[in-house]
């Protein structure tokens, strides 16, 4: 049993199968909403599934000049990283499946890995378009990552913990010593719901930074179709492209779940089923907001994107951190 249960967690719920399902449904919501906003009909609900199956069945080519190992490994690493990150995010209660002091930082780093794999996969494809896309991915990473990290760390500063869900205390047994409880961010905001409103600015900035992470309009510069074909993914096809696309879809869900847990941690104490349903509502609301954002903007240029992130997004993120630091001293904990 000790092996079976974690395997179920990882592979079925809330791991790969559940995430893939939600991610593909979210992709449908995103595409349909975007289509409706653009006055189009949009795809049927099974389109993302069909696309994935079709891609998986297609021929899988590795370019002659490409580094075979890097080319094969990067999609898997991207998918694994986002799946691993999800295990530390609470979805049906205050607690996540696993937790420790500092899991917030680990989740953030795991969410950075896909971008790094986009860079490596593109760079080792050795095609001009891929390499330009890869370089742009990395350039963009340095622009959005700072505001994103600052914004997500701000609620943690106020909650005085680096763990999202925390862990309960484990009483001492004859063989092991007692483990003290780790306080969680969700736990803190469940006790002080009004304090979550302080971080709304952070939510806004991180949503914009997330557009950069997910490489979506207006920050889809690394895969700008009309300039560099598909950027890093130009040479990828078949199964590997399917895995990359699934990884991006799942990354959106994981990031949305993280935002839901950190910025809008309401209703997590209602019991597993209502809390879980509420969680789905929050995630799909964030997905909907992201698709509205991608409909109303044009793609920026890389220099404009970097200027925007450093001149507007980063100062706002700093403001959020500053606000949390000051309020932490003022407010009763």
């Amino acid at each position: 049993m000790t092996i079976v249960l974690p395997l179920i967690y990882i592979l079925i719920f809330p791991g790969f199968l559940f995430l893939a399902l939600v991610a593909l449904l979210a992709e449908y919501v995103d595409r349909k909403l975007c289509a409706k906003l653009q006055n189009r009909v949009g795809p049927p609900w099974y389109q993302p599934f069909a696309d994935l199956i079709k891609l998986a069945a297609k021929q899988d080519l590795v370019p002659e000049l490409a580094d075979t190992w890097m080319f094969r490994l990067t999609p898997l690493v991207a998918l694994t990283a986002v799946l691993a990150a999800f295990l530390y995010i609470p979805i049906w209660s205050n607690r996540a499946l696993f937790g420790f002091q500092g899991d917030l930082i680990v989740v953030l780093y795991l969410l950075t890995i896909p971008t790094v794999t986009f860079f490596l996969g593109g760079w080792y494809s050795r095609s001009v378009f891929s390499m330009i896309g890869a370089a742009r991915s990395l350039m963009q990473l340095f622009a959005y990552e700072i505001p994103l990290f600052l914004c997500i760390l701000a609620p943690a500063i106020l909650a005085n913990t680096w763990s999202i869900g925390g862990t309960p205390a484990i009483p001492a047994t004859p063989t092991t010593p007692a483990v003290p409880a780790v306080p969680g961010i969700t736990e803190f905001y469940a006790a002080h719901p009004a304090y979550a409103l302080i971080n709304l600015l952070g939510l806004g900035v991180s949503m914009i930074a997330l557009l950069g992470k997910l490489e979506r309009v207006p920050f889809d510069i690394p895969e700008a179709e009309t300039e560099i074909v598909a950027g890093s993914f130009t040479e990828f096809s078949g199964r590997r492209l399917a895995i990359f696309r699934l990884a991006i879809s799942i990354e959106m869900i994981v990031a949305a779940s993280l935002f839901a847990a950190v910025f809008i941690p309401f209703g997590l104490t209602l019991g597993p089923v209502p809390a879980f349903l509420l969680y789905l509502v929050k995630v799909f609301a964030i997905v909907a907001a992201l698709s509205v954002l991608r409909t109303i903007f044009a793609r920026l240029r890389i220099d404009q994107m970097i200027n925007f992130c450093w001149q507007i997004a980063a100062p706002l993120a700093f403001l959020q951190v500053l606000a949390d630091l000051i309020l932490k001293g003022v407010l009763p904990a």
């Binding site: 001009v128 370089a135 309009v217 179709e225 009309t226 044009a298």
Partner: protein
């Protein structure tokens, strides 16, 4: 990013290009150091094919030079032939030609607005403008029976008349379009990412525009007030009042404003045309054999000045037809506009001249004196070459060829 400059091929097959055309870009990081344009992937030999056809058949072919400004080419050709033949087309025909011309300008500019949105990753604009473009496409289909190649022109006038009922529908459609265009004007002036992506991009100064011979909205956005409709009026343009929209932004943003402004002018022209539409015949009888002579016709297509040259030799077939589509005049400016700009701006800079490569494409032979000169092949030589080429590969057309010949002599 890259230590050495890299060469990036944009085309002949590339998502930014709707037609095959080659751009060789030398990049240093994100900056374009050098841009070269390679024409000729879409050469169809239409000029030569026209010499093999009668004037009436040639109109059919000329109309297919371009899918978007088909009426422009057909009208330009007919006007040129009419000039050689000394034909005076009826007033109503001139008005109808103008009407179709302006509807075509509306559909072309709306199409451009959508493509421009797509090139800068603003697909919402593409979806909106192309939806609204359907209104004008339907109007064109209503009048001419066709959405794309309207087949309205013939030598000596037009082929279809317009009914009072159709006039009402066109007026209604134009009202709807005008309202939508006003909305796009607010989008162009308010939407911040759009302005950021278009301002200062693809700069072409007033002097450069004149030096490089830019035409149409590309030139007018650099404050060059050239418009054949006003400078050398044809059809019914002398009798309608309109303003030549210019702008001094010199960039892609200026070109957008010029095109949106021209849309508003087109609506006004269409209303004037429909109000003053004279009665009378829609065509005069044209001779089958056009007397010997030559003429050059000018026409303001949506993309700029279109130029046709026709030489007649007294038979029913033209002796020489030469087409200079507006894109050929503008494509020189593109290489200039791209230099020292960002790669990200390339698609929109290329799209900003509203290129139509298949209209422009021609065969260019560069003769290298060190190698044997390619020389010029006559039509029978070319036929013989083709037959031999196939025979060497085991396909013999000699038999078919003989049947074809006997058919023709019979």
């Amino acid at each position: 990013m890259f230590e050495k400059p890299v060469q990036v091929p944009i085309g002949p097959q590339h998502p930014a290009l709707k037609e095959p055309e080659g751009f060789i870009i030398t990049l240093s990081g994100e900056r374009i150091m050098r841009a070269g344009v390679r024409l000729g992937y879409n050469h169809r030999g239409i000029e030569k094919a026209c010499e093999e056809r009668t004037y009436i058949q040639a109109i059919y072919l000329i109309e297919r030079i371009c899918g978007i400004c088909s009426h422009s080419h057909a009208t330009c050709f007919c006007q040129t032939v009419e000039e050689i033949a000394g034909l005076q087309i009826p007033k109503r025909a001139a008005y109808l030609r103008t009407l179709i011309a302006e509807l075509e300008r509306v559909h072309s500019h709306l199409l451009w607005l959508g493509v421009a949105g797509h090139e800068i990753g603003f697909d919402t604009l593409l979806m909106y403008t192309w939806r609204d473009r359907e209104i004008v496409m339907d109007l064109l289909a209503l009048i001419s029976g066709n959405r794309v190649n309207y087949a309205m022109n013939t030598i000596g006038g037009v082929r279809r008349d317009i009914t009072p009922d159709q006039i009402q529908q066109v007026l209604k459609g134009v009202d709807a379009l005008e309202e939508r265009t006003k909305y796009y004007i607010t989008v162009a002036t308010d939407e911040i990412t759009l302005i950021k992506r278009l301002s200062g991009v693809g700069l072409l100064s007033h002097d450069d525009a004149i030096r490089l011979g830019a035409v149409g909205p590309t030139a007018r956005a650099s404050a060059v007030a050239h418009d054949v409709r006003r400078d050398d009026p044809y059809a019914a343009y002398e009798e309608v009042s309109f303003k030549v929209v210019t702008d001094n932004h010199d960039d892609v943003y200026g070109r957008t404003l010029v095109r949106v402004g021209e849309l508003m002018e087109s609506y006004s022209i269409i209303r004037q045309i429909l109000k003053d539409l004279p009665d009378g015949p829609i065509a005069v009888k044209a001779p089958r054999k056009i007397p010997a002579g030559e003429a050059v016709g000018r026409y303001e297509a949506p993309r700029g000045e279109d130029l046709h040259y026709v030489r007649a030799n007294g038979t029913e077939k033209p002796d020489r037809v030469k087409v200079r589509a507006p894109t050929l005049a503008n494509v020189q400016a593109v290489a200039h506009m791209l230099k020292d700009r960002y790669l990200a701006d390339l698609p929109i800079v290329v799209a900003a001249i509203d290129p139509c490569f298949s209209c422009t494409d021609r065969l260019i032979t560069v003769e290298d004196p060190d190698r044997r000169t390619p020389g010029v092949m006559t039509w029978p030589q070319l036929r013989q070459y083709s037959l031999d080429w196939h025979r060497r590969r085991g396909v013999d057309f000699t038999h078919l060829n003989k049947t074809f010949r006997t058919d023709k002599t019979r």
